[in-house]
């Protein structure tokens, strides 16, 4: 069921996920279109998330946005400080930026990072995790992971897990997507682009997510004028994803866009995506066991021991 509408306010709106911003020129969504998008969201009963560009929007835009309950996704590089203070999620694209930023303990942050930077600088994350309400890591080149990268990632997760365990032992409960999300989940919690959320782009057309818009503007799934028209809509649902529906790496983003990029099918993930998600899953299991040494913790969630990192390898058993 559709629940969220993401509105890309401008072609240069920040990226909050795996994809790069595919356009350099500003193109602000026309005001009437923005209002029509908000109305669409109201009629369909969708929660709206606005994705902002780095420059300050005209006042009448800000006014239109305030006519509806919503969340704001804003880049750390946004020049509008007031907006940044109001943002629900702040996106960092750069480690140095993050190290210089004033972090707010009540806010959620996203760090988009290439694997190489993560491998070099991950220790710095301990500090961030302790300071903020929530930190999400988005690795922007998951599809390039090699066997050696998997090994490194495993070690990094282990190191950061020890830090989080200490925080828990000290009575805190930091949220760090790649380690703590799975500990709390008893069912899939994926991105769900195309199934529970869709994106409205500045051209007035709907897309599965902003990545699909940047990749090919022709690849729309309807427009404001004629409504939604998703072809093969079932393929965005978990039940129609043969590998994922057998999987319990519930924290995995199950990135539909990367699926299509790597396997040509929106419902089929790459080996790399699955292994990365399983390293996180297994690290969460270990973390959860370790936290339990300090007291009772989430007893209803039992993450089982498994002997695979890619559910595809177990397909004969399904």
């Amino acid at each position: 069921m559709l629940e969220y509408l993401i509105i890309q306010l401008d072609d240069t709106s920040t990226s909050y996920c795996h994809y790069k911003i595919g356009k350099k020129e500003r193109r602000l969504i026309p005001l009437e279109m923005l209002k029509a998008g908000i109305k669409f969201g109201m009629l369909e009963n969708l929660m709206i998330q606005f994705v902002y560009p780095d420059y300050k929007l005209p006042d009448d835009y800000a006014e239109a946005i305030e006519t509806i309950d919503h969340s704001k996704i804003v880049s750390s590089l946004c020049e509008n400080e007031v907006l940044k203070a109001e943002a629900d999620v702040i996106i960092f694209h750069e480690w140095t930026e993050l190290s210089l930023a004033q972090l707010d303990e009540k806010k959620s942050y996203v760090l988009r990072t290439a694997k190489a930077d993560l491998f070099d600088r991950y220790l710095f994350l301990k500090d961030v995790i302790s300071k903020v309400m929530r930190l999400n890591i988005v690795i922007t080149d998951v599809e390039t992971f090699t066997e050696q990268d998997f090994e490194k990632y495993k070690q990094i997760l282990h190191t950061l897990s020890e830090h989080i365990e200490k925080e828990y032992a000290a009575g805190k409960a930091p949220q760090f997507n790649i380690l703590t999300d799975r500990m709390m989940l008893d069912k899939m919690n994926n991105c769900n682009a195309g199934a529970s959320n869709i994106t409205l782009a500045p051209n007035g057309k709907f897309y599965v997510c902003p990545a699909f818009y940047y990749e090919n503007e022709e690849d729309s799934i309807g427009d404001l004028e004629h409504g939604l028209d998703i072809k093969n809509p079932q393929l965005y649902k978990l039940e129609f994803a043969p590998i994922c529906r057998h999987c319990d790496a519930y924290q995995c983003k199950r990135c539909i866009w990367l699926n299509r990029k790597t396997t040509l099918e929106v419902n089929t993930p790459s080996h790399e995506q699955c292994v990365v998600a399983h390293l996180e899953r297994n690290a969460s299991r270990e973390l959860s066991d370790n936290i339990r040494k300090h007291g009772t913790f989430m007893l209803e969630i039992d993450i089982k021991g498994i002997d695979y990192l890619d559910p595809f390898d177990k397909r004969e058993e399904w």
Binding site: P242, T263, L264, V266, F312
Partner: protein, 402 residues
């Protein structure tokens, strides 16, 4: 000398590796799905060698017990010299590498039969004796055959040139079957075609209707009537005793369980095709020359190997995920086939996960005719007290997949 039966050999436990040696053919068959046939794309030995080096060098990725090296075109025998060279290289390499396929391989051909008698082809067959299987395509009576299977330039029918080679072929492969593909305008000729093939001495007729959306209103009725007529003749004249026609199968037309009967039909992805450019495909139907509306689905090439990620959708595809609700609830679903390549070509998005159901009404007609056939045949056998004997000796045709 006797040779192997085509296709059925090691069904299910053999990997099929197809070399698209040429896209050229003497014929321009009216129904040919190879929309992009041309004379320029001929495989070089270098490319074939690279493909072989990759395949035999990755035994871990090709673990099936046996292998069928399949040569198709266009018309493969136009490239008999190249094929001979490829097969020699395959044999030497399998031997040199002590490859597990060395004792379990076949060379398989689907040919139009026109140059079957030529010395080079015959020499090849003799040289590879027990490792060869060959299917010749003949559509039925002269009239029916020549409606479709005509020479490229003159549009003259090819029947006479093929049929003169049938005795030699049957002498070498007595159990050989032929494959017949039925499209809309062929429907009225089904009975005479099957009987004609039987009369030529072909005991196994593997026949199917095309998957493409070609069917007209009323085609299902014509189809059903033809099959009922055929059923009457096969039963009344006793052909059922040692001839087979794949239209009649005991196992079709039953509901299918969502959980237990969830396998994919088609073998795409468990096969591998390589073309003249050195590209790998999950099956030949995904090469550009076989597709109408979609871009070729290339899963790698002889230089870089197979991109395993691109195979994942094929290897996890099941019946329910790709079928519409109507098929899942269908009372006569079993035996209702599909072709992954046609599904891909006809899909609304670039996916192999949308089953094309253009054959729906034709399958339903086939099921009704099957019910008639088996009811009639079993009653006759029971009255004659020969049911048990029939069960023991019955000749099964191969399921016609592609």
């Amino acid at each position: 000398m006797l040779y192997r039966n085509p296709k059925s050999w090691q069904l299910g436990i053999a990997r099929t590796i197809t070399f698209i040696v040429t896209k050229d053919c003497q014929l321009a068959c009216k129904y040919c799905y190879l929309v992009g046939k041309n004379i320029s794309e001929r495989m070089s030995f270098e490319t074939a060698k690279k493909a072989i080096d990759y395949i035999l060098g990755h035994e871990d990725k090709f673990r099936e017990e046996s292998v069928i090296f399949d040569f198709i075109g266009g018309e493969p025998f136009l490239e008999i010299d190249l094929i001979d060279q490829i097969c020699d290289y395959l044999k030497t390499e399998m031997y040199r590498l002590n490859h597990h396929w060395f004792n379990s391989y076949r060379f398989s051909f689907s040919t139009n039969g026109i140059n079957y008698h030529e010395k080079k082809v015959q020499d090849f067959i003799k040289k590879n004796a027990s490792h060869v299987s060959i299917g010749i395509t003949i559509d039925g009576t002269e009239k029916k055959h020549d409606m479709n299977r005509v020479y490229k330039l003159t549009e003259r029918g090819s029947y006479k040139d093929v049929v003169k080679n049938i005795p030699l072929w049957l002498e070498q492969f007595p159990n050989a079957g032929t494959k017949v593909t039925v499209s809309s305008h062929d429907l009225p000729y089904i009975v005479e075609s099957v009987l004609h093939l039987y009369s030529l001495g072909i005991h196994e007729v593997n026949i199917n209707v095309v998957f493409e959306d070609v069917w007209q209103d009323g085609d299902n009725t014509i189809f059903e009537q033809q099959l009922i007529k055929l059923a009457d003749i096969i039963i009344n004249q006793g052909y059922y005793k040692d001839y087979a026609c794949s239209f009649f199968s005991e196992n079709i037309g039953k509901p299918m369980d969502r959980e237990w009967d969830n396998n994919n039909w088609c073998g795409a992805g468990k096969m591998l095709s390589v073309d003249a450019a050195g590209n790998f495909y999950p099956c030949t139907r995904f090469a550009q020359y076989s597709l109408r509306d979609k871009k070729a689905l290339i899963i790698g090439n002889v230089e870089t190997g197979i991109n395993e990620n691109l195979l994942r959708p094929f290897l996890t595809l099941d019946r329910c995920t790709q079928s519409p609700e109507e098929c899942l609830d269908c009372e006569v679903a079993s035996g209702c086939a599909w072709c992954q390549g046609e599904n891909y070509d006809a899909a609304q998005t670039n996916t192999i996960y949308q089953r094309a159901t253009a054959i729906c009404k034709m399958h339903k007609a086939r099921v009704r005719a099957n019910n008639y056939y088996w009811n009639k045949l079993f009653r006759k056998l029971e009255l004659e007290g020969k049911r048990d004997e029939f069960e023991k000796n019955k000749k099964e045709s191969n399921p016609t997949i592609c």
